[in-house]
């Protein structure tokens, strides 16, 4: 009530003293809590500064939490990728040229070793952090890679698939029809398919041998190619016929086999005897070619065929899945794997750190190990040795360190993640510094400066003491005290 109806209402002087006391209480509260302001209204224009600073500090806190999460996951990625790099080196070590070991021990253990390594690769690619799978792009709720038994065994497993492919590649001595008609040897691919040898070229050195290859129809480049070698006249010893074929695992590189005419006995390797007449020479040539192709189909062709099967079964990024094969990869398939998982680490800075298990480097490694895992190379004999040598060749070229510069290689991925980690570290340092600066500024506004408050308390104390003294003195000065 403004109108005070109480007896002896308080005078103005006492009112002022009461106000000073309230101020004293306020200062005490400031010292105790450390806050300069106790209520919203007191803050005045500092309110705006406090709001802005507070908002920015909270944002920075959010980004730092994100950075922590990202760094945690990056450490898992780093460990995984390091382990896969080691396995890549081990996979190369499985394939040492001519190292059959004592009694072919290497050939026998290659399969078991490859199986173990492949299982380990699958485990690494299925790494999870508290239930989130990190090698599947952002599809982190399912395992990116199927289990070893699902991939290998079963009606659509890799074992059956590769055996199927081997049969199709090796039939008919590498799917090449050989015909001798008079003095003409004709080799024809036996169908419009992708299996077996593909005839690439033929050339002859010698007066009596004429080599011709069938016309290539540009509209149907994969149609059956035909090569014919005509023995028009008896060749001289040393005359050569060179045939170029391509293997199922790599249709772009041509392997050349040269057959030399010879009169020596025994015949040198890849030699054909000069017969009595052109027909017999042609027949000899056909026999030499035939035996060569037969030998190749059990060694080089078989190995190449297994690699081709692996190429078909383990599809990489963006490639379609073969309907006859089990889906080995169940994760996300995006054009840019790094961008599948992003984190905001600053207002406009994002960290991209997604990895997919079907990137080129991982797929090559898996293919190489799978091929060795399905190939039974013991006991040591000429065929198995030949197979082993062919596999070694292909393995070493596919898993060599030269491929590190290709996109999607394990080293490439490691480097890209490393760049992201470097950015994150820079931003983190910036956030820490900024956070410290903002905290200082906020403290200047929001914290009670101890020294100032103490000084004000002292001043107020002096004022109060003086006021009390004056009031006491004034109350004594009244005429009533001096009347007799």
């Amino acid at each position: 009530m403004i109108i005070n109806k109480s007896l002896y209402p308080v005078s103005g002087t006492i009112q002022t003293i009461t106000n000073m006391h309230k101020k004293l209480d306020n200062l005490q509260l400031q010292l105790a809590t450390g806050n300069r302001y106790n209520t919203l209204a007191e803050m005045g224009s500092d309110r705006l500064h406090h709001l802005n600073l507070g908002a920015r500090l909270n944002r920075i806190e959010g980004y730092q939490a994100n950075i922590l999460t990202v760094q945690n996951r990056m450490s898992f990625y780093t460990l995984g990728l390091e382990r896969l790099d080691e396995i890549e080196a081990d996979a190369r070590a499985l394939a040492v040229p001519n190292a059959y070991g004592t009694d072919g021990i290497n050939l026998a253990t290659a399969r078991t070793q490859a199986t173990n390594l492949l299982k380990e690769v699958i485990d690494v690619l299925n790494t999870d952090i508290t239930g989130q799978y990190i090698f599947g792009g952002n599809k982190s709720d399912t395992k990116p890679v199927a289990s070893f038994s699902q991939i290998m065994d079963g009606p659509n497993g890799f074992v059956a698939y590769s055996q199927n492919r081997n049969t199709q590649d090796m039939g008919n001595d590498g799917r090449v029809d050989r015909v001798v008609a008079g003095n003409v040897v004709t080799l024809t691919e036996d169908g419009d398919h992708a299996f077996g040898f593909k005839l690439a070229s033929v050339s002859a050195i010698g007066a009596g041998i004429v080599a011709a290859s069938g016309p290539v129809d540009p509209a149907a480049p994969d149609a059956e190619q035909e090569i014919s070698i005509t023995v028009s006249a008896q060749p001289a010893p040393g005359d050569r016929v060179t045939i170029g074929v391509t293997m199922p695992h790599d249709r772009d590189s041509v392997r050349y086999f040269t057959f030399t005419a010879s009169e020596a006995d025994p015949l040198p390797i890849n030699g054909f005897a000069i017969g009595a007449d052109e027909d017999e020479t042609a027949a000899n040539l056909e026999a030499a070619i035939g035996s060569k192709l037969a030998q190749l189909s059990h060694t080089d062709l078989r190995s190449s065929s297994t690699y081709a099967a692996a190429d078909g079964f383990f599809n990489g990024m963006g490639e379609a899945q073969d309907p006859a094969a089990t889906a080995w990869y169940r994760g996300q398939d995006a054009a840019n794997p790094r961008q599948t998982v992003t984190a905001n680490i600053d207002e406009s800075t994002k960290a991209h750190y997604g990895v997919q298990a079907n990137e080129a480097g991982f797929v090559e490694l898996i293919k190489g190990l799978a091929v060795f895992a399905v190939s039974d190379l013991s006991p040591l004999d000429a065929t198995n040795a030949g197979r082993y040598d062919a596999m070694v060749d292909i393995q070493r070229s596919r898993l060599s360190e030269d491929n590190n510069s290709k996109p999607g290689s394990i080293e490439g991925i490691t480097m890209e993640l490393g760049l992201a980690a470097a950015t994150i570290n820079t931003v983190k340092a910036r956030h820490t510094q900024y956070d410290a600066q903002l905290q200082t500024m906020l403290a200047e506004i929001a914290e009670a400066p101890r020294e100032e408050v103490a000084m004000m308390l002292l001043t107020l104390q002096t004022q109060l003491q003086a006021s009390y003294q004056a009031t006491a003195m004034a109350s004594q000065l009244t005429l009533v005290n001096y009347l007799r």
Binding site: Y37, G54, D141, A343
Partner: protein, 609 residues
């Protein structure tokens, strides 16, 4: 003559001194009584036959009319500001300081950071739960603040009601005192104390409402409000307050009493005239005016700002902003099939007179049209009734009528196409609320109205935004299945951060402009910006309002105090003066008594002769 005149002189003097001492004693006894005006004896010379020094005296009372009127003005002002300051002080406690655990800015920052964590790690149960938790806290604080604001409005009404009954009692007492003061035959002393009581009552009345007092020569007082409505003239008018029951956010003041949702204050004069005092120009000061201002302006502004923030939160989460692309032939096409009342379409076009911006707003009831144009962003507003079921057709018809320079067509399947005509299209965009949790768009109805209804800022009725801060809640479908925070469509992986990133970008980027402005007295503030800006502006503005109320209160109390001091100096009893006067009266009495006894001796000597 002679001795008898001496005797009568001395007796007259003793009588006067006695009366003087009587007055001194009364003054000293009432030194502490509030509202007591110092009384003094006024001496009048009369000649009575041979005794020329007989005096008679009347009592007078210290009174300064100008000071009294100044005092009344100061008391009204103090009443007004004191009630404002005390209510707003409580309001600021609810709002809290920036950085407090329960302050809106801290809770909002927590929500934003929770979304940030979700965008980084969507496949984590804890981050999803964190988002819902932060949203729930934010919503609870908004609900709580609304409850506090409406509770204060209810309390203001209650205080008005109490003040009114007190006021009526005081007016009746004052009328009664006026009548008794008129009786000049009563004891002077009693009459003067009645006048003290009169002044006390007038001051109490002026604390509640601002009055203009006219003090008449006969001692009565007439009261009138500053705007000229008579309150007391012989007979007292009666104040009445009709309460409106429980106030909520939709109970607002309307000049038309039939539409008003709040209580009404009326004044009934003795002649039967009834005046409605709710209009602010009739009562300008006093605690009742302060309470009315709080109930109808200050607290309503706070509620509007809270509603703006709540609407901003809900719309930022649930709006799908589709920008039409030029399909190559200069035509811009949009699919409007999911449009709901309150959703908008933004169009900018250039014609011969310059660039124009148009905002088409969908409404559900034809009675809501026409809408106010232009809106706070300066765009021309066209309201379209889409209750017919095909929004595109209705909008096409409206645009064709209002903007004739463009070729607007609807394709019959819910799509709208705008092509260049005389004018050329700048850009075309639609802001449509998401229809479900798994509609394929990143937007999500995270915050909903009562019973899970989507918030679309519909303008029908009193507007969906009115009081939304009290009704906003987290969508229960999300609480039942938090994976909907990530799964924007069936079959989407839980590690896909598309939806959380969309929600975060919208929350940080979508801007709002408030249609409502606070009162000009408080600065005419209009909230605008992103949700975090809205919250910061609200806290800053309300802090300013409270600080201003408190400083005004302090200033006015200081003024009142200085007037009171002045009044104490003029009307109050100074004990030292009274004591001095007492001494003099004592001596005078003793001297006159001595004269009487001397005369007595002289008469005795005469009689002994």
């Amino acid at each position: 003559m002679g001795l008898s005149s001496t005797l009568s002189n001395a007796l007259g003097g003793m009588n006067a001194s006695q009366r003087g001492i009587d007055v001194v004693s009364r003054n000293v006894a009432n030194q502490g009584t509030p509202g007591y005006h110092r009384q003094s004896i006024v001496i009048e010379e009369t000649a009575y036959g041979t005794s020329a020094q007989v005096r008679s005296s009347t009592l007078s009372r210290a009174f300064n009319e100008a000071l009294e009127k100044q005092h009344l003005v100061a008391v009204s002002s103090a009443g007004y500001h004191a009630v404002r300051s005390s209510f707003l002080d409580r309001l600021q406690m609810h709002i809290g300081k920036p950085g407090d655990a329960n302050s809106l800015d801290t809770l909002y920052a927590g929500f934003e950071n929770a979304l940030q964590a979700l965008a980084t790690n969507p496949n984590d149960v804890t981050t999803r739960a964190g988002v819902l938790n932060a949203a729930q806290q934010l919503v609870e604080q908004l609900n709580g603040l609304t409850g506090a604001v409406q509770e204060m409005r209810r309390e203001a009404e209650q205080q008005i009601s109490n003040s009114v009954s007190e006021l009526n009692r005081q007016l009746t007492a004052l009328a009664d005192i006026n009548v008794r003061i008129l009786d000049l035959s009563q004891d002077q002393q009693a009459r003067l104390s009645l006048m003290d009581e009169r002044d006390r009552l007038v001051a109490s009345i002026s604390e509640a409402i601002d009055v203009r007092a006219t003090y008449r020569a006969d001692g009565t007082v007439a009261l009138m409000t500053e705007s000229g409505v008579g309150i007391l003239d012989v007979q007292a008018s009666q104040f009445g307050f009709q309460s409106a029951g429980a106030l909520n956010s939709s109970s607002l003041f309307d000049p038309d009493p039939a539409n008003s949702g709040v209580g009404q204050l009326t004044l009934r004069t003795p002649s039967g005239l009834e005046v409605n005092l709710d209009s602010r120009s009739l009562l300008s000061s006093g605690s009742i005016a302060g309470l009315l201002e709080l109930r109808d302006t200050t607290l309503v502004n706070m509620q509007d700002q809270l509603d703006e923030i709540a609407a901003g939160l809900a719309l930022a989460m649930s709006t799908v902003n589709t920008i039409a692309e030029d399909d190559g032939t200069g035509a811009y096409a949009l699919d409007l099939s999911g449009m709901q009342p309150g959703n908008t379409l933004g169009l900018s076009y250039t014609d011969g007179t310059g660039t124009h911006k148009v905002r088409v707003v969908a409404v559900e009831e034809a009675g809501t049209l026409p809408l106010n144009s232009p809106n706070a962003s300066g765009e021309r507003v066209i309201g379209v009734d889409i209750s017919g079921g095909d929004p595109a057709a209705a909008i096409a018809a409206a645009l064709a009528a209002e903007v004739p320079g463009l070729a607007v067509t609807d394709d019959g399947a819910g799509g709208l196409s705008v092509a260049n005509g005389v004018a050329s299209v700048g850009n075309l965009s639609a802001q449509i609320t998401a229809s479900g949790a798994q509609s394929g768009a990143g937007a999500l109805n995270l915050f909903v109205d009562t019973r899970g209804a989507a918030f679309t800022d519909a303008l029908d009725g009193s507007g969906q935004k009115q009081g939304f801060a009290g009704r906003i809640s987290v969508n229960s479908a999300l609480i039942a299945d938090p994976t909907l925070l990530v799964r924007y469509d069936a079959g989407v992986s839980l590690g896909d951060a598309t939806r959380p990133q969309f929600l975060l970008d919208n929350l940080k980027g979508m801007g709002f402009v408030s249609e409502k402005m606070t009162s000009l007295r408080d600065g005419g503030v209009r909230l605008s910006g992103k949700v975090s800006d809205l919250i910061g502006q609200m806290i800053h503005h309300q802090g300013n309002v409270v600080a201003k109320a408190q400083s005004e209160n302090a200033a006015v109390s200081y003024t009142l105090q200085s007037i009171t001091t002045r009044m104490t100096a003029e009307y109050g009893v100074n004990v030292d003066e009274e004591m001095a006067r007492l001494m003099q009266l004592q001596n005078a009495y003793a001297a006159s008594a001595r004269v009487v006894s001397t005369v007595q001796e002289l008469i005795d000597a005469l009689l002994r002769m």
